[in-house]
Symmetry: C2
Subunit: 287 residues, 2 copies
């Protein structure tokens, strides 16, 4: 018998997951979307077997329950829906920060249910079901979080989600839950705030228009993510508040270091710093 994948939220990530799993031989996909026309569209597209505007119906039927709304919304809904989760259910979420949702899950998860978090690193500046696509996860990093010390975590559940990531063409990585948010703060969330800061410094005063006429490809790339959706990034950054602050403090230390090198004319050490950074960046390019 096919297992039922219940997707809470048919936006960019949830919708893409539904589209990507629609033809999976072992799964039957159902979904919750608050607005009925989204669910109707997903049914018309043959992407879900059934769609609901109340999440409870999805929760009660799901063998695998995927929370695919923004992190705070996921947590709010989980608390409401926990009483209806079946003991057999494998719960997961696709949020880009983990600690807050995980805290809620641990508090409310019913006995017998399992929780294994995933973070498919796919996204776009444009969200919503209309942008969702079956191959969104292809070639993207698909992180399955490990959390062996947690009773609700399950190795079998992790393996099921690893297989799901592979089926969708993702590059699967397993990372410890405790490391995830700090790592993400350093490689994504802090850099996002910095992109916004650099855009602000370049263009945010009376000389902005003139200054931006001098900006070139380096500026374009460094600030690209500052074009992202502010409401979405507010939620990502604030759901990882402490780690983003920590990463910004680490950046402040680096700035002090570089300023000190410049002010003392220690140009050899500056060049060494740039060389090491280049080595890291070049290695990353080969990933």
């Amino acid at each position: 018998m096919k297992r039922t994948v219940g997707i809470i939220g048919l936006g960019l990530l949830g919708g893409s997951l539904a589209k990507g799993l629609a033809l999976h031989p072992d799964y039957e996909v159902i979904g919750y979307a608050r607005r009925s026309h989204i669910g109707a569209q997903a049914m018309a597209d043959g992407v879900v077997k059934a769609a609901y505007t109340e999440a409870r119906a999805v929760v009660e039927q799901a063998d695998i329950l995927v929370f695919a709304l923004p992190p705070d919304t996921n947590a709010r809904l989980f608390e409401e829906l926990a009483p209806y989760i079946q003991p057999r259910t494998l719960i997961t979420d696709v949020s880009s920060t983990k600690v807050n949702f995980a805290r809620t899950v641990k508090q409310y998860i019913p006995m017998g249910a399992h929780f294994v978090s995933i973070h498919p690193m796919a996204g776009s500046e444009k969200g919503g079901y209309a942008m969702a696509q079956a191959d969104l996860f292809k070639g993207c990093t698909w992180i399955v979080l490990t959390d062996e010390s947690e009773p609700s975590w399950s190795e079998a559940g992790a393996q099921e989600l690893v297989a799901m990531g592979e089926y969708l063409g993702g590059r699967v990585e397993q990372i410890a839950m405790k490391d995830h948010d700090g790592f993400m703060a350093t490689v994504s969330h802090m850099p996002h705030t910095v992109a916004a800061m650099i855009a602000t410094l370049a263009g945010g005063d009376a000389h902005g228009a003139l200054r931006l006429r001098l900006a070139a490809g380096g500026f374009r790339d460094i600030t690209r993510v500052a074009g992202g959706n502010p409401a979405m990034w507010r939620e990502i950054i604030t759901s990882n508040r402490q780690e983003v602050v920590r990463a910004l403090s680490q950046l402040e230390e680096q700035i002090l270091h570089i300023k000190n090198l410049l002010l003392t004319s220690d140009d050899d050490t500056l060049e060494t710093y740039l060389k090491i950074a280049k080595t890291i960046r070049d290695d990353f390019s080969h990933l």
Copy 2:
């Protein structure tokens, strides 16, 4: 009679200028390259009419004299060569920072010669004559610096260099000399150091390899310039030392502001900050 453009240095910028002007009806291009095989290659390519391994011969013949070596090297050479510059000569340089070279020029420039600096914002992580191309400047910003209060600056010279930029397909901008280096520090040099810092924070410790496996497109773009040539960027950054320090201090203020918003949970103001940054970035995209 054709005017002689003498190019000091046939690397990426000087070589591209030579290639781009080789067929110009009003110009004859000659060049200086320290290594004789570079000059021989440029002659074989039909890119220069004559090539020299001593800069003096170029200086003595040039109507337009282009310093196309790194900023400090340009300044050192200028001091040496100033006695041989003809009074009719229009001197320019293509450096990405201006104040240091301009200071040397003002000190040593012979009476009757003119100095109008340009900054063609083209480049590549790969330098050298072999990478030079006639269309390097096409679509790139080509800045002509204005400096009306300076006796050696010339409006006619500026117009000649504007026309040269247009001939090469550049997007010509005129910017005041006094603003240039500060603007560049904010839109390019400071961001370059930040890209190196973010690469260092992400990949520079024992968790680096693991952390970089979580890095995605945002990280790739933000850190791209950290893959640039360390020796070249050392020279660019240190030739604009004071302005880079100033821009880094401005970034520190922004970091303090964002940390404060996060620590006081002033998430609405954070979202407004991200919105303003997005507006600036979106406007820039339309340039």
